[in-house]
Amino acid sequence: MTEGLPAGYVPMAGVFDEMLCADGTLRDTWERVLATPDFRSAEVLENRWREAERQIRENGVTYNVYGDPRGLARPWPLDPVPLVIEASEWQAIEAGLIQRARLMSYVVGDIYGGQSLFHSGSVAPGAVLSNPGFLRPCHGIVPPDNTHLHFIAVDIGRQPDGAWAVLNDRTQAPSGAGYALENRIVTSRCLSESFNAQPVHRLAGFFRALRDNINNAASLAARRSRGSGAEPQVVLLTPGPYNETYFEHAYLARYLGYPLVAGEDLTVRYDRVYLKTLSGLQPVDGILRRLDDDYCDPLWLKAGSALGIPGLVAAHRRGHVAVCNRLGSGIVEAPAMLGYLPRINREIFAEDLILPQAESHWLGDTDNLHDVMGRLREYVIKPAFRSFPFEPVFCDTLDDESLEALEARVRKRPHAFVAQRRMNLSCVPVWQDGRLVARPMVVRTYIAASGSGWVVMPGGLTRVARRSGDPVVSLQAGGGSKDTWILASAPVEIETLWPSQSEAIALRRTATVDLPSRVADNLFWLGRYVERTEVMLRLARATMNRYMPDAALGASAIPSLLRCLNRFGIRPAQPARLSHLLTAFDEGLPPVFKALHHSATTVRDRLSMDAWRLLNPLGMPTGLSNRAPVASAAELEGYLMRIATFNGLAMENMTRGLGWRFLELGRRIERAIQTAGAVRILGSESGETEPAAFEALLEVCDSTMTYRSRYYTSLRLDGVLDLVISDDSNPRAIAFQLTAINEHLRYLPRERPGTLATPEHRMAAACLAELRRVDMRRLADSSDASGELTRPALDRFAANLSHDLSALSDVLGEAYFKHAIPALVAHTPAMIPARG
């Protein structure tokens, strides 16, 4: 009998259970894992797992669910209990996967080449020709390394008799490998005792093989397009932050060391692919794509796709770029192909499939249709092609009427459907509400081409259904995931992705690839948003402090502070009470946080893990109004600390490349604009409210200490203005920002040393010169007050400065980010000439 955690676990009837034998005893592998202290009791596991959940949240491991009201970035669902597979069992799976990879690669090469499979009758031609994913413009393309599939995923499940079988293949841009890696990192850290209690295969070696293989393909392409001396450059192509697995794209890009690019970052010239960077076009030789086949080129493939690169097919055809996997490779993952694979393998390789697959029939074949229609109830009806929106129907659950309706529907377009024998998936324990429950599972495995052979990832992404009765295991449908431990027969070596390199490398001080214009644009705006958020938080804190019952600070500054906050969309209801203020914060802070979070998301692959961890929680701020004032103040303080730490990290940890300069430029320009704005409002006070307002201004500009050290008691505006506007040595002063801006501009690619050649540099220099020219005592003078304005000169000065800096920001954008803006207009429909 079982005790401890497994006590009370109820296996599901009729299916294989991963943890328990048929007689209810623990399987050996599971016994060893559950015997470790991590699984000693529910409390221990809960405790350790809380740490894992925190890591997942802070690392921003997310998965986007389409149509989810929570919007982008749902935390990644990871279960603490790993799936454990014995070495001997895995060996058979591995052999089966390698055999399958070889088969699928052959099929893709044949369909896009000689099509002997049609002539021999091994495949019904219609199963391919009716597939919208069969990309005719890609026919005849031979990849430079002659490898049609570099990276494949295969979903496997366990049948009731304990044998593994194949459910699905993914051959164009398989997802999930990055999540598998992240699952491993989190699980092995949080449950280190059980992880270390046995030899678990490491994953790094697989990724190294994958990277070597892609690099090899890229270097062959580079040789073709640029000659033998060229150093290959590979990029990871993403559809962007709205894709369901964007986290993974950024994660893998960082892990593999490839720049993460969007379609708009790339351009095709002379049938070659280039990356648009700040210093011009740089050649690209390899593309690891996460973009689906037909979206990759709006000229040759799906017209109107804004995600792709016009002309990519032509570059691909010439072998000037290695696309992994080759365009059109999705053809073999179609369920329509499944039924033909065992036969092809027998005919071409004279072998039966080692891993069986679900019995499957493409209904476009007349004989299949006839056979299946007689006994429809035994099958699951699925779409023949992934692009066809149709949810699988389990026919045994239908009443007679619905079954007839389904039959009529299938008969109308038989080529669009397959009939598959239902497979009852095995169940695995999942930790839910403090106990283990049985849930159906599917394991996604990964195979990479390696030299002339294949490498299987010793692990995988195990996915579990949300409910016990769910026939479909899908993360989109709300399921979860697990780490997958493949036990080794001998102790494993610890690997990293860095190869030990014996040969010398050329030392370099810059990244192999220049900064893409789009990334520079995003970093610039990240800088602006970070600063904007900081100023807003400072204002919020200053205002809130003045509401506190024991406030030593002048409450008379509140109206002016509220006017400052107005500019950020924070408008508390009247009368201005603390509770109203907090409610206004709850409404006003999230949009600014969201803008910051979004802009951080777009450059996520450029931020260090630590930097990302700081900004990520701002994406989900918690409410302030329903807490005690002290707690709200602490929360605000917490946000401010994150921003301050981020700025510190950027200062201390980012190399002084162009990326850093654009981040800085954004930050400096925003700080100067915001300070000018605060000066304009708080500096306009006169009479009794003057000291309170000036005090607030110093506080918002974080210059109180410095002022006190200089002037002791008296609070005079000219002193304040000198400190927050013209003092070069004060990092908060506008003069400091302008000096920094001028300095950064000198290093940008358009500049020539010693000249003020560009409009942006001339503008920045003029702002600084204007500031130097102005006497702060004259600005502080209120003797020429007119109408509303107590100090017209100050108001004019601050307004002009804000205006000029905004213009500078626009000019910079025009100069450096212009072609980063998605200006691509797919004119295909309108480019159509005469119609007869």
């Binding site: 031609p125 005719r136 480019m831 000439p833 119609r835 007869g836």
Partner: protein, 292 residues
Amino acid sequence: MLFSVVHRTTYRYTSAVSLSHHTAHLRPLDLPYQTCRSHQLAISPLPTSVEEDRDYFGNGVAAFNITQPHRELVVEATSEVEIFVRDRPDYLFDRPWEDVAAETAIVRTPGALYATEFLFPSPSVEITDSVTAFAQISFVPGRSILEAALDLNRRIFEEFTFDSQATTITTAPAEVLILKRGVCQDFAHLAIACCRAVGIPARYISGYLETQPPRDQPRLIGADASHAWLSVYGGNGDWIDVDPTNDILAGIGHIALATGRDYRDVSPLRGIIIGGGEHHMDVGVDVERLLI
């Protein structure tokens, strides 16, 4: 019969186009009854390169891109094509259309394999219940494939009105069926959808039609237009070219440019441009009969 064809397309943009990529299907096909004697493509401004190739369906396709900023693009294709007289495939009066459908349902011959390419719905040819119902009036049981094809051709000609304003290039066959109006492209797509709905492969042909000037009037240069018709599989490797816009079998005046599943496979000129703002397009086709 020898023809000279000049096909000139002009785009004018309101603001400069900084980069453009294009593909063109403008080279006349070589077929048993048609020979392309010469073909030239003149592009202004000068593209960085022009790559000519055969596409999947065997059509000539040219790809070019222009990297210099421009406000006007002119693509002029000049070809000389010889067309031979074709016999009416009267023997197809004896072949029931059901036999043709059965031949492609289970592919056993290279001819049927090629035809299978044109059996399924394609991006511009969607098959709906209304299309099937319309098709079944022509494809009645036991009728010969030629008779059925000619009947469909005639019905589209008689029941539909030629109207260049009623549809756009993306109008689906089912919509044309409701509008009862359209241009040659719409009629060809509809007829193709009808054939495929009953299991008969049919392919799209883009090309030109020589138009006869009215008696005693000079031939107007550029008055002709690009044209479209279809080819219906007649079984056993035979194809029947029908022109539903004119209710005729394609003949001596039909000059074929390219063939594919539908318009999108063979659009004469397509492109992706960066910049450009609004644009205006002008097309002139001039088909002239030459003396041999």
